[in-house]
Structure formats: structure tokens, C-alpha cells
Symmetry: C2
Amino acid sequence: MAGITVVGIGPGSLLDMTPRARAAIEHAEVVAGYTTYIRLIEPLLADKEVIGTGMMHEIDRCRMAVEAAASGKETVVVSSGDAGVYGMAGLVLELVLQREVAERPHFGGVIAGVSAVNAAASILGAPLMHDFAVISLSDLLTPWETICKRAEMAAAGDFVIALYNPKSKKRVQHIEEIRRIALKYRDPETPVGIVTAASRAEQAKTISTLADFTKETINMFSLVIIGNSQTYVKEGWMLTPRGYGKKESGL
Amino acid sequence: MAGITVVGIGPGSLLDMTPRARAAIEHAEVVAGYTTYIRLIEPLLADKEVIGTGMMHEIDRCRMAVEAAASGKETVVVSSGDAGVYGMAGLVLELVLQREVAERPHFGGVIAGVSAVNAAASILGAPLMHDFAVISLSDLLTPWETICKRAEMAAAGDFVIALYNPKSKKRVQHIEEIRRIALKYRDPETPVGIVTAASRAEQAKTISTLADFTKETINMFSLVIIGNSQTYVKEGWMLTPRGYGKKESGL
């Protein structure tokens, strides 16, 4: 029976996509995904039916994909990074489970990918070596007060903080408010790393400080990592030691 | 010049290792890593020098690897999952930077892998679709009070909470204390997923509740994911909707 599988394609380059993900895409007759991500896997798409529309229609795109699978076509829905982190895994699974059992395509599961936060961290050095919190600043589906409360808790708990969707054309002040919240708990000199378009041709990285990082270029393809109280920068690398009580891990 | 690269091999199966990671291992003359992980990549190690010792000697193992690279042998240090999350990335980078510039091997960077938390989530369904916090319960290098404070902040902030190193033979009560902390903020019926040995032959998954999950089998190869206030279970899948105000993402 035809099925639908959700695939994390990794941050960008095909070199960062797992063989399991690649095989699922190669095996599929229909591939659905946000157009930007479809372009990243163009070499794998010859002779396939592609459902690629803009960001605003993701529910419709996933519905079409579930429909394609139900009609007998082996289908994958792709997300950049890991499909389970702000990706399409949940939406597709919900859409499949909503259908009457007799009308459901087989759910082929979720294939994990290298998440954007891990890709960004690897480019900065080793900023996530200790406990971390991942927060999206998009308030399309989450109240802004909830997001601020989370940033406050993460800052108070001395988590390394990774911010997804830090800024868009319409949303430029949110990152400033998060900065103010973090400054209540952390030194202005706390290192902050910014990676834009990790693992793609236009990849860029910047290391700044909590005091100044919002002056840097940040856009919707950026991931921002705010260090914890132990994070330091050495020769252009951002490092969080594994433990406490020493800036370098027991060396 | 020979260099040293830190490689995340993914959660277990070679199908979940990126081509970039695989190429780095294949290209290396020396491969260092915890013996359990070395076994996972055995098929790639023919004719290579292997530095594999027990968990307790990881600093020595990394020192030997840096030494091997400095002596002119192309070297990789492998970590399971992503090398930047409780892995070897930070330690190796610190050891390289500690050396006099003239005596340093080239640092080839960190190659990101599929992190254990993403692998576990993909097996459970889609529990991480919203903001999440990652906490290790190992108190070898971090004071237990700090870990509890973090769990408290993560629970108060309604983060999905992923627990690494939830339990070992010597450390069996920590998970109970985290459960008590979470219960101060969350419903006893909150779904909790447990995945052990993700992506390996002995992979196992269980979905339980915050009230009862510590009665399940949990060991040092388990990853525990505690849902947020919106997380639900449907037909054996654990799902966190992307937003608030509706249990199913705007469908």
C-alpha cells in the first residue's frame, strides 16, 4: 500500500542529508515541501510529481500530500533540518489520523534529520555542550507573552538559548525584547552566535555579545545562539564547557 | 597538514549518518571514540588505527587523538548523535586551542549529526513540534541543584522537556525528583515518551504519563521526552501541536 513519510532533509547541502532520508525521497512518486527546500533537493526530483507552494499554504500542501498518498502514490513531505522541530511531522501525522481508518494512507513515520540548531552550533564551535532551550520567536500560532515567559525561564535557568525565526521583515522588535529579558539574567558580554543559511552556499556566521548582537544581520534564515554563564569565545570559536566551576572542562 | 575533526555519527544505524560524516571517517587514519560508538561504525574502520576506551577516560582518549593528529595522522573523534550535544566537540576544540600555535594540528571543525533527541522524537511521532528544553541528569560535572533549577524553569515555562542520561545503575532517584518537579506544573496525565537505543537493533519505545513513567524501563541509553500542556497521544503517537489554543494545529 502507498504511504506517506515525513523526511527531515537536514540544513541544506545533500552532504548533510542521511541515507535513510535520501532513499525515502528517491523511492517516492510525489514530493511535497516549501519551495525553498524543494530547490535544495532538486537533483533528487527528476520524474517526480512535486507539490511545492509558498510558506502560507503549508496546511493545504500537507493535505494535498496526504490525498496523493491516499490515492495510491508513494509520497514524502520534506522539511529542512529535522522535520520534528518546527517542521511538518506533526501536521502530517495529525492529518493522517483525522481520516477515517479505511481512508488513511499508510503512515511511514518520521525520518529524523540534522536539525538547524545542531548545524548552526557545529559552525560556531561547541556552544550547545550543556543544557539548552530552543525557542521560536514566531508568534503566528503562539501568544507573544508565552514566548517571553519561556525566554525568561530559559534565561533564569542558565540554559544556552537557541532562537528559531529570530526576525522577519514584519517582525523586527521581538529579538530586541528577548535581548532585554536575557540581559536581566546574563552579563552583557555573554557570547551570542548567529548563523545564517547553515550548510548552504550563502552560509554566514557572526559571533557577538548579548549587548550588541541585534546590530548584526539577522533574518528568517538565521539561527541565534545565546551562551550560558560559562560560555566563552576563543580564537573565533564559541564554546560552552560541559560542567560548572571551571571555564574549561576539567582540563 | 593532518587535522582533527569531530564527527557526529548519528543515533546508531549507518543509515542515519550523513555522507559528510561518513566521508570524514573514511578519509581518516585514526578514529577515536567511546567503544560502544566505535562498534556502531565497525564496517568503516578496516585498516584504521582505533583509539577506543571506556567512558571514564574520555579526556585521555581525546588527548591521544589530538596527539595523533599533531603527529601527522588525519584523525576523527566520533560521538553518537550530534557531537555538539553532550558529545566530544567542546573537549576536542579546547584541547586543540590549549596547545601552542606551532604545535596544533589543523582543526577540521565539527560535523553535525542527527541528535539523539531528534531521533527519539521521530520514533515517538512529533513531540518536539514546539519549544523544548534539553537537560542532562548526569551530575558528574554539574551540581544537582543546578539541574533541578533548570527542570523547574523548563516546567514553569511549559517547554517540552527532553532528558538525557535519565538514569544509570548508580543514579536511580534523580528521575524521580524531576518527576516531582514537573508534577508541580503539569497534569499527571501529561504524556511522557521513552525511547531506548534509538536507531539500533534493540530500539524500544514506550509512551506513558507523568504520573507513571518512572515505573517503565529507563536506562543510560534512554531518552525521556515530557510533553508540554498541549501534548496528546493518539493511536500510539505522541504529538505536540505547533501552537496554542487548539489541540490540533488549526485543522
